[in-house]
Amino acid sequence: MDVLHWDGTLSAKDFRIGAFAFAQKWESCNLAFPPWSWLPCPKHPWLAPPEEEGYLSLEKICISRPNEEEDIDQISQIDTGEEETCCSRNEDVLDDATLVQSNHHELHYCDFHIVYSSTFRVPVLYFRAYCSDGRPLPLDEIEKELPACASKELSKKWTFITQEIHN
């Protein structure tokens, strides 16, 4: 790939290659976290999903209050990994934030999906945060949960997160 002339977009095929590479790197760098799974996109209820069309999924991630420094290191590692294999839109970039247990001692969980957008031709990170009873977390609570370093770094790029569903 000619990086100098690259416009930042990926083909669906390259997304799949990149996704697998990312998942492999994740597994080798993040021993504390479960691996990402590649799930085929079920396009229609009656059709077997094509192998080539899929997305990365990491679900029910809950981190009980850990050593904060450890998390920060892991986050920067994730950044380098991502840059090499993926290119995300600035508006919707969300660092793979570590969720810290809230003050109310209620466990919060998060599902992450990395999906290919045929509109923007880039990977998009979708996330869904919820309480242990399945109730979705409102946006302001999600923002509170981000580690301080991540919020600071992303405060410029992160003008808003968009609420959306994917296919």
Partner: protein, 356 residues
């Protein structure tokens, strides 16, 4: 510019019933009769609906949501699209149930009133702009007042106000060779120099909703009620119009969006129930010859396209855009320029019968 006017004036008569769990008075309140704009969104009707039921509601916080036959309705889908998708046999008035409590957070994404709907609309517009112009700078750089004016024009169904603001966005229109041909015929003196240079695009924003049914049917009212969103596939994918000698039709667009339904057209044709397909097939696929025979109970494939079917696969039974069932041979560029929603997306509902 007639068609967009019809689209904006389109409305669905609703008969809205308050869910029994929320009725605290006897006798229960009668249903509210409301005419909902096709291009609008259900939560925006809250100010019209609440007065009907406010006296009977139990105390507490109001988060409005709707269901049709028990299926919670996704609030970010335009009302007209929901109707076309879930009511293949149009039900007039459309009987839906309103709730003010017990928001189904596991099925519906949160909606905090008009603001949520507005941002969902702006986000769609941004995506459409990116598809058509290659970037969404125009939407991102909209002034606050323009953004509000645009949103209010959608809420109020004011096409003139909408066009005033949306023209500032300079969104490319789909290159419509068919229309320009017609123009040349009807208007001898088309003063092209007076018109501002209009950017053209070959990419059309499309949102396709596919309802799959397992049993065949002759009448639309035989289609079973949708009891789960899992029966509906949502495909958000732009269609690239290919510039070829022949006209790019709606049929061609569907072939791109649902390739699995149009396997190998040189061997077989797709059956489209109730649609006169003969001309469309002849125009869109030169390779089909009358000599080829399909494995279809020995029937000759191409002389009678209605009889053709892909043996183990699916067939399209119905296509609806803005409540209309367009012919498949219609130029797709016309559809893209005239039947789009205010978010610049073409929302297409398709009913597919699958062989189980």
């Amino acid at each position: 510019m007639e068609a967009p006017k019809f689209v904006w004036e389109g409305a669905i008569p609703l008969q809205i019933h308050l869910h029994e769990s929320q009725v605290t008075t006897l006798p229960p309140p009668p249903p509210a009769l409301i005419l909902a704009p096709r291009i609008g969104y259900l939560p925006l009707l809250a100010p019209l609906i609440k007065p009907y039921f406010s006296s009977t509601l139990p105390p507490g916080v109001d988060t409005i949501w709707f269901d049709y036959n028990g299926l919670p309705l996704k609030w970010y889908i335009p009302t007209g699209v929901l109707f076309d998708l879930l009511c293949p046999e149009p039900e007039r008035p459309w009987n839906i149930t309103v709730h003010f409590r017990g928001y189904p957070g596991s099925v519906l994404i949160p909606c905090e009133g008009e603001d949520s709907v507005k941002w969902s609309f702006i986000n769609s517009l941004k995506e459409a702009a990116y598809i058509m112009n290659g970037n969404c700078k125009n939407v991102m750089n909209m002034s606050q007042s323009d953004q509000l004016e645009l949103w209010h024009s959608v809420m109020n169904g004011n096409l003139e106000a909408y066009q005033r603001v949306s023209s500032k966005l300079k969104l490319a229109t789909v290159d419509d060779e068919y229309a320009s041909l017609c123009l040349q015929k009807s208007q001898q003196s088309v003063i092209e120099t007076d018109l501002p240079a209009q950017a053209k695009t070959g990419r059309v924003p499309v949102r396709l909703y596919v309802l799959s049914v397992s049993k065949d049917f002759d009448d639309l009212d035989e289609i079973p009620r949708v009891d789960s969103w899992e029966k509906i596939s949502y495909i958000n994918r732009p269609v690239e119009i290919r510039k070829e000698d022949k006209c790019f039709t709606l049929h061609d667009a569907l072939k791109i969006l649902l390739p699995e339904l149009f396997l190998d057209e040189s061997l077989m044709n797709v059956k489209l129930g109730g649609v006169d397909l003969e001309d469309a097939v002849r125009n869109s696929n030169e390779d089909v010859t009358s000599d080829k025979v399909v494995e279809d109970q020995g029937q000759n494939a191409c002389k009678r396209p209605e009889a053709c079917r892909i043996s183990s696969s699916a067939e399209i039974k119905l296509i609806r855009i803005q409540g209309i069932e367009p012919k498949l041979e219609i130029p797709f560029s016309w559809v893209a320029n005239n039947l789009l929603n205010p978010d610049y997306f073409l929302h297409v509902c398709v009913c597919v019968k699958v062989a189980q």
